[in-house]
């Protein structure tokens, strides 16, 4: 009898062995938005505490990387940059890729590196990867500022390439980058709770992935090339990051040709699917990961 009474009462929390696959509680994430902002703030302020140069490091890193690329890929290897000044070309690629790679590596460590907190207190676990993506966005913003400054410099000396209307896609491109990184990241983080091998493998893959994406070379270099009877450019576009980077470079710098709405839609769909699968797996794993991590 007590059973029937209690079933009529209004329970606010019901803890069951397994949650349904699609029980993703978005309202709960919204309730914890303060925590999200605090995590973002923490990530940003803590990173360069007790350093002299502070956030300047965010600019020094891409600047040095670009110089290195200019020497190695532009100078020694002599890879063309679609007629765009080398610093601008590389900076555009580096900023975008760095954002993607940072989100990805950080997110893919979610469970393992936060096991201490996760083991002691409950909050929607998705807050963690979401805060990673957001705090990296701030960093990306600052680095993009560097890109704008360099662009203005080239405009003053009259060498700036002309942007075009595709540049308006920029916010969408950033969202797609974030979505892809988040999606892949949470899938990997869910799988690494049991098998840490993936984590090691993955940090390596991210490095290689950059070379499979037109960061240090333009896609136009491979257009029309055939290998074993396959169009190399098409294969490269299967990499969902390629259309995003190419569209950005074309929009901002007028480099190369527009990749086409088809490929962009492909990337977008890829992002949605990855994110969807990621959230589902993540949701499933978060319930029991403390027993396996």
């Amino acid at each position: 009898m007590a059973q029937t009474v209690s079933e009529n009462e209004n329970w606010t929390t019901i803890i069951k062995p397994r949650t349904g696959l699609f029980e993703v509680n978005l309202k709960e994430i919204w309730d914890y938005r303060d925590l999200l902002t605090l995590f973002v703030k923490r990530d940003i302020t803590v990173q360069y505490k007790q350093t002299v140069l502070g956030p300047l490091w965010w600019l020094i890193q891409p600047a040095l990387t670009v110089i290195m690329y200019m020497v190695v890929f532009g100078g020694i290897a002599g890879i063309p940059t679609d007629g765009v000044p080398q610093p601008l070309f590389y900076l555009a690629g580096v900023c975008m890729w760095q954002y993607f790679a940072d989100c990805l590596t950080k997110t893919s460590n979610t469970f393992v590196s936060n096991a201490g907190i996760f083991g002691k207190v409950y909050f929607p676990r998705l807050i963690m990867p979401l805060s990673n993506v957001t705090s990296n966005l701030v960093r990306f913003g600052i680095q993009f500022g560097l890109f704008v400054i360099v662009y203005i410099y080239y405009a003053i000396i009259g060498l700036a390439p002309s942007p075009n209307w595709y540049f308006l896609l920029f916010p969408l491109l950033v969202v797609m980058m974030a979505g892809l990184a988040l999606g892949f990241g949470i899938i990997i983080s869910s799988l690494t709770t049991k098998y840490r091998d993936l984590q090691i493998l993955f940090s390596f893959i991210v490095q290689l992935w950059m070379y499979a994406t037109p960061i240090v070379y333009p896609l136009s270099q491979v257009v029309g090339k055939q290998k074993w009877g396959i169009d190399v450019a098409k294969v490269m576009c299967l990499n969902p990051v390629t259309p995003i980077i190419e569209t950005f470079k074309h929009g901002a710098l007028g480099a190369g040709e527009f990749i086409g709405w088809g490929w962009l839609a492909y990337s977008f769909t890829f992002m949605i699917v990855t994110l969807g699968i990621g959230v589902l797996i993540f949701n499933k794993v978060q319930k029991s990961f403390m027993d396996t991590v």
């Binding site: 329970w11 925590l35 605090l38 002691k120 409950y122 403390m290």
Partner: protein, 419 residues
């Protein structure tokens, strides 16, 4: 009264080999040992086994099995039990840190859990920033924390360092700050795991006082886990005793503690010798007698208050040593110490080979009736312990009656009738 929490047939199963201990480092080590080096799991051997015999497949262990109870709103429940009985697992499931294997838990209202003090503290951030961080992790909103900030800082007693990074804090200060935040949580249901014993004596008192206010005055439902029986008694009305992953007793806190401590009692069978722990390999103990007897129960009807202790054994070297003893009550509170050599200038040197030590302990005649525990030690005071015999004997003192006819018991009157 309405039910605030309901545990319905909750069980938690861990698979041996993947079973989780509390710390990440252990898990990493286990993973390394088992998956990479193909060695035996290093933690299973020392881990406690929770009634594995009931399960046919021995690859699995039940940390908790068929837990079924309800907690009324405003109830303050203390959960006690030995290490590994499943207390923390139970709280973890209620805190949604890990899920149950079977069964459901239903709860009404926000659940605030305090499984650790200062979760999410970042060493580089200041005390103030960490209050916000920790508060938000525990489920408070920013405005709630802002409202209570002064109170929290005041409670922690760290005003002076509040804008200093917590990496410069002493560990005690860090813990104070962490507890202060948690103490100002406002959930309808509060889950507290073994975090009352924090900070110095002053702060502990403050912490327990605060918890008392929270649980009594504010009508909140609280679940405590602690090994500190005194504070559990002070805080909780209802007690639940967990044993091997199952509820053994559910009733008033006093009764629960009594039963738990009884369960703690040493096996009365066996000889004193079986309890000897040699701490040095230079000594071997072959015989221990108290009042000429080798068993571990000593009935001492008044006026018998004398303990003749004899220890025989072998030494590999000449060693300075003597017998010492400690007297505890049945709740393991130290009451008195016997150390005759402390009154002498020199500790006698015992030559190697067979030896025999003997001492007589005269308990005061005005000692109250009750059960006491005697621990024997062979040591060179201030230099080294050679052997310890914890719970060497249970002393049952009886028949001491005052001239006015009162029989004074330890539980009510303490150890001595002062004169």
């Amino acid at each position: 009264m309405t039910t605030a929490i309901e545990f319905n047939n909750i069980s938690k199963q861990y698979r041996l080999g993947l079973v989780s201990t509390k710390t990440l480092s252990h898990d990493l080590n286990r993973w390394w040992q088992t998956a990479v080096l193909h060695k035996e799991d290093p933690y299973l051997k020392i881990g406690s086994v929770n009634d594995r015999s009931k399960v046919a497949d021995s690859e699995y262990v039940w940390a908790l099995k068929n837990i079924d109870f309800k907690v009324e709103q405003g109830d303050v429940v203390g959960i006690i039990g030995k290490n590994g009985a499943g207390k923390s697992t139970l709280l973890k499931m209620l805190s949604r840190v890990t899920g149950p294997t079977t069964g459901t838990i239903k709860a009404k209202g926000r659940i605030g859990s305090l499984l650790e003090v200062g979760t999410g503290f970042h060493p580089e951030m200041t005390g103030r920033e960490n209050i916000f961080m920790n508060g938000a992790i525990l489920g408070m909103t920013k405005s709630e924390i802002t409202k209570k900030l002064d109170e929290i800082v005041d409670f922690s007693g760290c005003e002076r360092y509040i804008d200093t990074p917590v990496k410069r804090y002493s560990s005690g200060m860090m813990v104070r700050l962490g507890f202060a935040v948690a103490a100002h949580l406002d959930p309808e249901i509060l889950v507290v795991d073994e975090v009352l014993a924090v900070g110095d004596a002053e702060f502990q008192k403050k912490a327990i006082g605060k918890m008392q206010d929270v649980s009594r005055g504010e009508g909140r439902t609280v679940l405590f886990v602690s090994h500190n029986m005194a504070s559990m008694k002070a805080l909780c009305r209802r007690g639940i005793l967990l044993e091997n992953g199952a509820i053994r007793f559910d009733g008033s806190m006093g009764d629960t503690i009594e039963l738990y401590l009884k369960g703690n009692e040493y096996k009365e069978d066996g000889t004193i010798l079986s309890n000897v722990k040699c701490l040095s390999n230079e000594i071997k103990i072959t015989k221990v007698l108290i009042n000429g007897k080798a068993n571990r129960i000593m009935n001492m009807p008044f006026p018998n208050r004398k303990l003749d202790v004899e220890i025989e054994g072998e030494l590999l070297n000449d060693i300075h040593m003597s017998i010492e003893a400690k007297l505890f009550d049945s709740e393991s509170v130290l009451l008195a110490k016997f150390a005759p050599v402390l009154m002498k200038t020199e500790v006698p040197k015992v030559t190697k080979g067979r030896f025999k030590l003997a001492e007589t302990i005269n308990l005061p005649y005005n000692m109250t009736n009750g059960e006491y525990r005697l621990q024997l030690e062979v040591s060179h005071p201030n230099v080294q312990y050679l052997a310890v015999i914890p719970d060497a004997a249970k002393l049952v003192l009886s028949d001491y009656i005052t001239p006015t006819g009162n029989s004074l018991m330890y539980n009510q009157n303490g150890m001595l009738l002062l004169q």
